[in-house]
Amino acid sequence: MNIENTKAQMRKGVLEFCILSVMDGQDKYTSEILDALKEAKLLVVEGTIYPLLTRLKNSGLLDYRWEESTSGPPRKYYSLTEKGREFTKELDQTWNELKNAVQKVTK
């Protein structure tokens, strides 16, 4: 058993939920999503996020549009779809349950 692996697994498990939550109520482009996740120390390296975003988009939870940027390449703005909002709501509920459960067990 490798502690780093376990930690990484835990983080990865909630990563999708967090990505979706970051976008809830407000459209974000990739760098903003990254900054938010990094600030929360959910992400060590950025690499992981790209395949995840593509998957979430491909399964219809996210949508995106291009917007020109003044200081760099065009930005990909992601937004939650209706399905994504439902999905996030459900995950939120599950997270709360999980949080309570973990707290109960670890007390």
């Binding site: 999708e16 390296v45 690499g47 992981t48 790209y50 395949p51 593509t54 760099g72 390449p73 065009p74």
Partner: protein, 534 residues
């Protein structure tokens, strides 16, 4: 001073210095490889490139050029290629084994577990079986000879797993930092284990532990038998490898040395002593190109492959032999191909110079009508003193009366025919080959041949000569005797070697058997023997 390259990332142009470019490219290649088989990977790559472009633009602001530091920063921020892989357990229903294909195995030679060149163990890793089986197959097929060539080729073309990343790739594990670290640790532990294995007590205890039950005992016996067998095979291979190395070195060394000795005798002696050695003289008379050029080409054509074999043999025996640089390898290959082509050209040219065979119009001389004609060969006291050791196409080298070099041959044939009622005649025709009709004819006319006719005896010279600049081009002299019916011909014993195979006779004698007999010309163009025992 550094060279810079212009690149286009997500539509933005960056100047990037060469070192940084190489690093960035190999990073992106590794990421692509890591994402191979992942759904929507092209889009992901595009996103990553866009992100890199964004980060570059942020960092570049004041300066002009993207440097290695910037690329290092990007890699630290984005993560190792393997960090891009998503744990598929998150997407249970969507993924069906797409991740497996990310960890592509590659064929390498495993030099950590090598007996000769690590080819077999590399194949073993590649196929996921124990190298011993691969070796066994190679040994079984060894007697067919093919695996030797196959092995040598594999040895040359399959790269050695030199870096830890390559070793992981060879064994089918993805090359990321944690695996590499684990591998290095494993390496240390292996060495430690090897040292520990010398502990005999430990081994003995193991045997005792496993031998506690009957079944365990059997297993341990079988196990040790197989490990013995494995060691034996390994030993045989190690021995065979060394043997192959030694044989390669000896054989190629012998060939190279003999090539050089031949070269020296053929060329340097020639230079120093002026074409006095018959073989070199003959070679020069035969080949239209300078002999020194042809011999250098031959040395290269034969020597280079043997030199490579010798190098291979040395590499087998001596582990730390310096690898040949690409330039050396390429120039050797170039020289070899060049010599081969040149030799082919020379050979074709050689064949072309013999493309036509021309006989000049025969010299016809009337003979006196006699009852019995004697045919004798006339030898030359001068030329008989020279005994040619070598010849090409019946032609050898000699010296004329003035001591000048001359081409000399005994390629003379005579044939006997019925003159169909006409007076007896002798026809002498000289023949040679050449690039075209005119040259062949000229060459034929340069043949010096003589004979003598007395009242009842025909003396034929048993040799002819040609000037050295004629070169050896299948020169020959043919004598046709036309005799009326019932003429008797006595073939002297010394004609034995010069009788044509076409002479028809009632005894069915072939060539030299006809000599030393009396023959009568019959009506059907056949010679009838008068003094043979029936």
């Amino acid at each position: 001073m550094n060279k810079t390259i212009n690149i286009n990332l997500a539509g933005i142009v960056f100047h990037i210095d060469e070192e940084a470019f190489d690093k960035l490219q190999s990073y992106l290649d590794a990421v692509k490889k890591s994402l191979k088989g992942t759904e929507g990977n092209e889009e992901i790559i595009a996103d990553i490139e866009a992100r890199i472009a964004e980060l570059f633009s942020e960092r570049i602001k004041e300066k002009e050029v993207v440097t290695k530091d910037d690329v290092d920063y990007i890699i630290a921020k984005l993560g190792q290629p393997d960090d891009y892989q998503v744990d598929d357990s998150i997407f249970d229903e969507e993924t069906t084994g797409s991740k497996k294909s990310n960890k592509t195995k590659r064929l390498y030679r495993d030099t950590d577990d090598k007996i000769i060149g690590g080819v077999c163990s590399g194949i073993g890793h590649y196929l996921g079986i124990d190298p011993v089986w691969v070796r066994l197959i190679f040994i079984v097929l060894f007697f067919g000879g093919f695996p030797i060539i196959a092995y040598l080729i594999l040895w040359i073309i399959v790269p050695e797993a030199a870096t830890t990343a390559q070793k992981l790739e060879m064994k089918g594990e993805a090359a990321n930092l944690s695996n590499i670290e684990r591998k290095v640790k494993e390496g240390f532990e292996n060495v430690k284990k090897k040292v520990d294995d010398f502990d005999l007590d430990e081994t003995g205890k193991k045997v005792k532990e496993t031998g506690s039950s009957f079944f365990g005992m059997i297993t341990s016996i079988v196990g040790s038998f197989f490990s013995f067998l494995g060691k034996l095979i390994t030993g045989i291979f190690a021995f065979a490898g060394k043997l192959i190395g030694v044989i390669l070195i000896l054989v190629s060394f012998a060939v190279i040395i003999s090539i050089f000795i031949t070269f020296i005798t053929f060329s340097f002696i020639d230079v120093n002593f002026g074409s006095d050695i018959a073989p070199i003289f003959l070679a020069e008379s035969f080949v239209d190109f300078p002999v020194w050029l042809s011999s250098i080409l031959l040395i290269l054509a034969i020597g280079i492959p043997f030199f490579m074999l010798m190098y291979l043999g040395l590499k087998i025996l001596i582990k730390n032999i310096k690898p040949m640089s690409g330039v050396v390898k390429l120039s050797l290959l170039g020289a070899w191909l060049l010599s081969i082509f040149a030799l082919i050209f020379i050979s074709i040219n050689q064949v072309a110079t013999e493309s036509i065979r021309v006989s000049e119009n025969p010299k016809i001389e009337q003979l006196q009508a006699v009852d019995t004609l004697y045919v004798k060969m006339r030898t030359s006291k001068h030329y008989d003193r020279v005994d040619p050791l070598f010849n090409i196409d019946h032609m050898s080298m000699s010296y004329d009366q003035d001591g000048e070099q001359i081409l000399f041959s005994r390629h003379i044939r005579f044939d006997v025919h019925n003159s169909n009622g006409a007076n007896p005649t002798v026809e002498v025709s000289r023949t040679a080959k050449g690039r075209n009709y005119k040259k062949a004819l000229e060459r034929a006319q340069k043949i010096a041949y003589d004979y003598e006719l007395t009242s009842n005896t025909l003396y034929l010279n048993n040799y002819f000569t040609a000037p050295t600049d004629s070169k050896i081009k299948a020169q020959e002299v043919e004598i046709d005797l036309y005799l009326p019916e019932n003429t008797v011909i006595q073939l002297d014993s010394n004609t034995a070697n010069y009788i044509s195979h076409q002479v028809d006779n009632n005894m069915d004698f072939y060539r030299k058997d006809m000599a030393d007999h009396l023959w009568k010309m019959s009506s059907n163009n056949k010679l009838e023997c008068l003094d043979c025992e029936q």
